[in-house]
Symmetry: C2
Subunit: 409 residues, 2 copies
């Protein structure tokens, strides 16, 4: 049995938490499992180091930022090794280079290309827990590169893949993946199992506790992931290829960062969409949902959502290109929300969308736009309705009583 | 022209000082010199990291301490690279591994075995200032080892040797080597040039600004060293094989850490000294000056000095071995001081010792013991006389008027 574990920055933020995590690792080690543990930098260390750099240079070189930040994780693994020794557990710390983590040359946002696990395997064979600095690797020039956001999760999953681990446990400050944000939806429940694709859809809507890159990597190499809390003994959420829990809907997510733009009266000619979205892409504005409808006199209306921070830039870009795109006018609505339901089960159950719309209709929630994928249905609604709508939809599909809704079977 | 520079922890303690040092480096770079710069960890970083480790483990593994502490110097070089970029100087930071510094396997007190300078040379050839993390290397297992006290000085000198540098400049918080401690001897002057051997004698008496290991290494590879301040523009002290300044005496040093032990009435038989000092060596007690004299009835008295902290252990060891050594009694004097004069010129001038004793006699300073080497004369005196005696001897040999005392010619 080989297990890769990962503990985040808040789990190792101070000496007491380091000792707490060491005790957890010791428990796992006592089961006889071979253990490789990826760690993040302690608490605010990374932010403090960035602040130090900013004092010296407002826009420091990414290579040097990587060189600087990588020290945070190296400190974490060294301290954890000491804590494990202190309670009689054999352990050794390795930085990204020593762990054989070969990354791409792109500083501050590198990808792991491969892992040469000889040193790790050698240490495991000597009965040691191997502590690996997360978030970092070494590129082909021998330089330190960091992996960008969610980097330590990615390190853990990549290690699990390279070592053919039986399990990858991501310890974090929440105790699993929920059917909805518990701060918003009062009946939100922890999900015991979820598929990679469901997790990806939930994560991309901001509901996730894992960065998409790590989930994608786990999917690619079929690594079973468990997300659980380092503070409690609760069972976490298992993320794998096939969900055991055969519920139709896995979760509900709200995204309140959306703004809606409509271009009214676009000429119904080929290449129009390219002109609109090409102009926006040139300004690095990301688009989420796009809807195109036939409007008055055969002209088209094109509606789409952007992040709220991008709204002014998007409107300005479209105004600048008015002649080229050739439209009547623009409208925009900054205060909308996107409500989504995600579930691998809906693929073979065409009634799900209708059921969702019916629940919202019964709750008097107005739907502005609809967008669907194989395992997700999203609707745009007024921001003021968002939390109420999330509770309505959650209770409709995910309340305990409705878990095995026969109508969808 | 290739120059290796080294800046200590106080010289890079905060953002302003990092920028100040960057400006100095930039000046040197503008002369067209190729520059390799070794840096220590910022200010109290090393102490803070040790405190962090202590919170977790009272006696942490040395391997993990090295892994932890090495991050301090890595942070320094990354921040310095940013500061240099900010003022338009091309620079790159390297940790000990990247710089090719191969050290022995002994953790926390490693020696540099060799340097593989390919990466450094390659970076120099691309016109970059190369910043190297001091105090650290990589051992044959790929583990980080640190070099112990004075480690960054040693890094700088070793780099100078490996790169066949023209000069090695050690920037520190004092502006050079003085003829005596300026806090004690009011007429102390900065020395413009000094030989390796003189520096070694001064350093071993606690007067040095450089660790002996780095001076020994410089001597071995004949590297010209300059010690100077990072805060001022003053010329520093040049340390090299032959002193240009042909003065007789280079410096005066006081060591107040000495305690005197006398073993009275030791039998005059072979192997006696071995029994005494073998017993002390077994307890890891270091001996400084040893004097053996014929006492009453043909028996001998053996006197020697130890560090004050070792006095109780030394007395206990001797008491335990009373029968084996076979002596009458022990006496000890904890409050003595060692006053030394150092100078390569005294080798060929037999009158120096007598002159020193005369000056002390005129000053009514009582001499307890005398010890001499080729370039050093030490006397043991009462602690209460120490500072007065240092001034007397300094003024006798080193006051401006006496610099070329013809009596010794």
């Amino acid at each position: 049995m080989l297990i890769v574990q990962k503990f985040g920055g808040s789990s190792v933020a101070n000496a007491d938490r380091v000792k707490n995590v060491a005790a957890r690792i010791a428990e796992s080690a006592k089961t006889g499992a071979r253990l490789v543990v990826a760690l993040s930098a302690q608490g605010d260390t990374t932010d403090e180091l960035i602040a130090k750099a900013q004092e010296i240079s407002p826009k420091p070189s990414k290579r040097e930022i990587d060189m600087l930040l990588a020290t945070g994780e190296q400190q974490s693994v060294a301290l954890m090794a000491m804590a494990l020794h202190e309670i009689g557990v054999q352990a050794v710390s390795l930085n990204g280079d020593q762990a054989g983590i070969k990354a791409s040359a792109t500083h501050s946002n590198a990808r792991i290309n491969r892992i040469s696990p000889e040193r790790i395997v050698n240490e495991l064979n000597q009965g040691r827990v191997v502590l690996v600095a997360g978030f970092q690797g070494i590129n082909r020039y021998g330089d330190v590169t960091t992996l960008g956001r969610g980097g330590s999760d990615t390190t853990a999953v990549a290690l699990a893949a390279a070592l053919d681990a039986d399990l990858c446990e991501i310890y974090t400050d929440v105790d699993g993946v929920y059917t909805a944000d518990p701060r918003v939806v009062k009946n939100a429940r922890k999900i015991s199992a979820i598929t990679y694709d469901e997790m990806l859809e939930l994560a991309s809507m901001g509901a996730g506790v894992l960065h998409n890159r790590s989930v994608e990597l786990a999917k690619k190499f079929d690594i079973s992931l468990v997300v659980r809390s380092s503070m409690t003994r609760e069972e976490g959420t298992l993320i794998r290829k096939d969900s055991i829990e055969r519920t139709l809907i896995t979760g509900v997510a709200i995204d309140k960062d959306a703004a809606l733009i409509s271009i009214i009266g676009v000429e119904n000619a080929p290449g129009m969409a390219y002109r609109v979205f090409g102009a926006l892409a040139a300004e690095k504005i990301s688009i989420d949902i796009i809807l195109q409808s036939v409007g008055r006199d055969g002209a088209k209306d094109i509606s789409f959502t952007v992040s709220r921070k991008d709204l002014p830039a998007a409107l300005e870009t479209l105004a600048k290109n008015k002649e080229r795109i050739d439209y009547d006018r623009l409208t925009h609505e900054p205060k909308i929300a996107k409500l989504s339901i995600v579930g691998a089960g809906m693929e073979s159950n065409p009634g799900v969308a209708a059921n969702m719309f019916e629940a919202l209709y019964n709750g008097a929630v107005n739907i502005n736009m609809i967008s669907t994928s194989e395992i997700k249905i999203s609707v745009l609604i007024d921001e003021k309705d968002a939390e109420r709508a999330a509770n309505i939809v959650h209770d409709h599909f995910l309340s305990k009583e409705n878990l095995n809704l026969e109508i969808f079977a």
